[in-house]
């Protein structure tokens, strides 16, 4: 019996390990195989492909100038902040379709207290995060306690939140947009964390060396730093990956998404894990909203429309299974980068941007087919 097992394994690696030399080869095979079965493989390959494609097609159009790079990085980073949280939630086996509406709501929650009530910006930012955590908690607790699919529960909140946002904003301000935040955020101690730039001196130095474009004065570089959204994107991605792969909580995320009854049987606090994931997603939506609102200086009740789907697409391209239990935060980051590169790349190539949506749909389909294949391979017993 044990022998039968051995032959199975040997057959799988196509080279029986007779002695030490064979053993070494076996190790290498398993390393390649391990790499091949990483969830983010597809997204990394996709990223390389789109970079090569646009380098050829739009290489001399300024897409890969400092400004072009910062532009597509910013698009990628903002979506990536959402996609990272969504990937954790999807690995945990749930969806959050209220994400886009939460963005709209959070923007208004920052703007109205600041503009209408005269709150300092930092206070209204805290307020928006607090409300978001409550919304995430409600989403989570309803989903877990009722056992209903989160797809339906959060679809309800997609409408509830958007409706409340538009209704209250119009009630209070008489309009659906709140502007005038630029002046108010000036000098606020918290705002630069969301809306500043870092490493400005590097860019000045590069401009001084003549390596990047400058404004007309010949001194000030056209790009004056790396936007904070990119910093958030990288930091959150690193934290999410560490949590997922190296902490108990990460193991529990995989467990509750893979099989919540099994997880419960071995003592994993299923409800707590799922609720925390919903709260993280809502917080990510708020972070996204704060960055955009401070950047634009105004909040729009329609902000974040369809972002829930874009984030899901990025997570799926990054290797998340729709059924939960499998995926990666790094993958979602690459998914978001593909998104940013293509969205900006299409603009630089001069192709009508309408085609972007076609590309998105096709990418999604390919990613899902690929993931499905991986899942089948992983759950099939020998």
């Amino acid at each position: 019996m044990g022998d039968g097992l051995m032959t199975d394994q040997a057959a799988a690696t196509a080279s029986p390990p007779p002695q030490a030399g064979g053993d070494e080869r076996l190790k290498q095979t398993s390393r390649t195989k391990k790499l091949m079965s990483r969830p983010e493989l597809g997204a990394v390959a996709g990223t390389i492909l789109v970079f090569i494609f646009f380098a050829i097609v739009a290489g001399d159009s300024g897409m890969f100038s400092a400004l072009g790079i910062v532009n597509f990085l910013e698009v990628a980073a903002q979506l990536g902040i959402l996609a990272i949280a969504v990937s954790l939630l999807m690995i945990g086996g749930e969806f959050d379709l209220s994400l886009g509406s939460m963005i709209g709501a959070a923007g208004v929650l920052v703007a109205i207290p600041a503009v209408e009530l005269g709150w300092p910006i930092w206070l209204s930012i805290f307020f928006a995060f607090a409300v978001a955590l409550v919304v995430g908690y409600i989403n989570g607790i309803i989903t877990v306690r009722t056992g209903l699919p989160s797809f339906i529960v959060t679809l309800a909140f997609l409408f509830i939140l958007r409706g409340l946002t538009i209704g209250f904003t119009r009630l209070i301000t008489g309009r659906t947009q709140v502007s005038g935040l630029h002046d108010l955020s000036e000098g606020d101690w918290l705002a630069p964390i969301f809306n500043g730039e870092v490493l400005g001196f590097v860019f000045f130095w590069l401009a001084d060396m003549g390596m990047i474009d400058t404004l007309r004065d010949g001194v000030t570089p056209r790009v004056q730093g790396i936007p904070m959204s990119v910093v958030w994107f990288l930091v959150l991605g690193a934290i999410a990956t560490w949590v997922l792969l190296r902490t108990s909580f990460g193991n529990w995320i995989f467990a509750v998404g893979g099989d919540k009854n099994s997880a419960r049987n071995v003592g994993v606090p299923v409800t707590r894990v799922k609720v925390i994931l919903f709260m993280c997603t809502a917080a990510a939506a708020t972070l996204f909203a704060v960055i955009q609102v401070l950047d634009a200086g105004s909040a729009d009740t329609n902000r974040g429309l369809l972002k829930e789907f874009e984030a899901i697409i990025a997570a799926v391209i990054g290797g998340c299974l729709l059924t939960g239990g499998y995926g990666s935060a790094i993958g979602a980051m690459f998914g978001a980068i593909i998104f940013g590169v293509v969205q900006q790349g299409i603009f630089y190539t001069g192709v009508n941007t309408d085609w972007f949506k076609v590309f998105l749909g096709v990418m999604l389909l390919i990613a899902v087919l690929f993931n499905n294949y991986i899942r089948r391979r992983m759950t099939e017993s020998k």
């Binding site: 019996m1 097992l5 051995m6 394994q9 108990s248 193991n251 997880a263 499998y326 992983m378």
Partner: protein
């Protein structure tokens, strides 16, 4: 078996245990004990009370009469955690495994070995991989790569991961709920071999099954249940495989079924119609008859 009884108190003992749900008597007058290094086979048909018995042992149900003793001390489990803390681990049929997760991650699911402090606590992956590989090695399964998904393992191997996990986390008594019922012959023998290994390591094993052929080779003692009562509690030396079979009434009922099916086959031949269906049924009756004969004459 030679190593029955090691002088000390039995690992687990039931004295006249009964369980009533309202007016329904689910279990009555059950007496048995399991010593270290001993396998007790708990046999019985569906509805015989096997599930109630193991749930009583694992703390899901509290007995309404009698005593449960663990290493000579009377205990009263009111929830599964108590039983687990006393070293009684139950491996249920559904295994509590997540197919998409690695062997290591499943092995330590819910009980991850951490290092570091406060918010920087992280899983000691190297340690976890090593332990998972070692523990699987101890039961004779060579896991080449503990990071491979449990979904790629066979049913028998998965069962072994679940058992190895229970043993690693301090089980002294293993209760295995139908560990071989969903498995093919080859797979079942992987699990049976592991039961023998666990026994050799000094664990007590309670092995629930309705398959005498799986139970007889590894068990030292047999507890037969029917309708909530004990049909007998035997040492292996006192009872033959045939007697066990006979007592389970499985033999008799199989005979009756065969006779009935032959009756059908004859009736269909008479009418001459529905040839395909009749042929299929005749073939099935034939197979069953052979099976029954095999069971009676060549129990191996």
């Amino acid at each position: 078996m030679a190593n029955t009884g090691n002088g000390g108190a039995p690992l687990i003992e039931m004295r006249d245990v009964g369980k009533q749900f309202g007016s329904v008597i689910a279990l009555q007058g059950i007496t048995m004990k399991v010593n270290a290094g001993e396998v007790l086979a708990l046999l019985g048909d569906n509805g015989a009370g096997k599930s109630t018995l193991i749930k009583t042992l694992s703390g899901v149900h509290t007995p309404t009469q009698g005593n449960i003793l663990v290493e000579g001390k009377s205990v009263k489990f009111t929830n599964p955690r108590h039983a687990l803390d006393a070293g009684i681990a139950t491996v249920y049929q559904d295994l509590a495994m997540v197919p998409l997760m690695s062997i290591t991650r499943n092995f330590f699911m819910g009980r991850e070995p951490s290092s570091g402090f406060g918010p920087f606590k992280s899983i000691d992956i190297g340690f976890a991989d090593r332990v998972a590989k070692e523990e699987m090695g101890k039961i004779g399964i060579d896991v080449r790569d503990p990071t491979q998904a449990v979904g790629t393992l066979s049913g028998g191997e998965r069962q072994c991961v679940a058992i190895a996990r229970a043993v690693y986390f301090g089980a002294k008594v293993l209760i295995l709920d139908e560990p071989t019922s969903a498995l093919g012959v080859k797979q079942a023998s992987v699990v049976l071999r592991y039961i023998a290994k666990a026994k050799a390591r000094g664990l007590g094993v309670i092995f629930i099954t309705h398959n005498v052929h799986h139970a007889y080779p590894v068990a030292d003692k047999f507890l037969l249940l029917n309708r909530g009562r004990s049909l007998g509690y035997f040492d292996k030396a006192e009872v033959s495989r045939e007697q066990v079979l006979e007592m389970m009434a499985g033999g008799k009922e199989l005979d009756e079924l065969t006779a009935e099916l032959e009756e059908f086959a004859r009736a269909d031949e008479g009418t001459g119609g529905l040839e395909a269906g009749a042929a299929a049924e005749a073939a099935m009756a034939d197979e069953l008859r052979q099976e029954s004969e095999r069971v009676h004459q060549h129990p191996d």
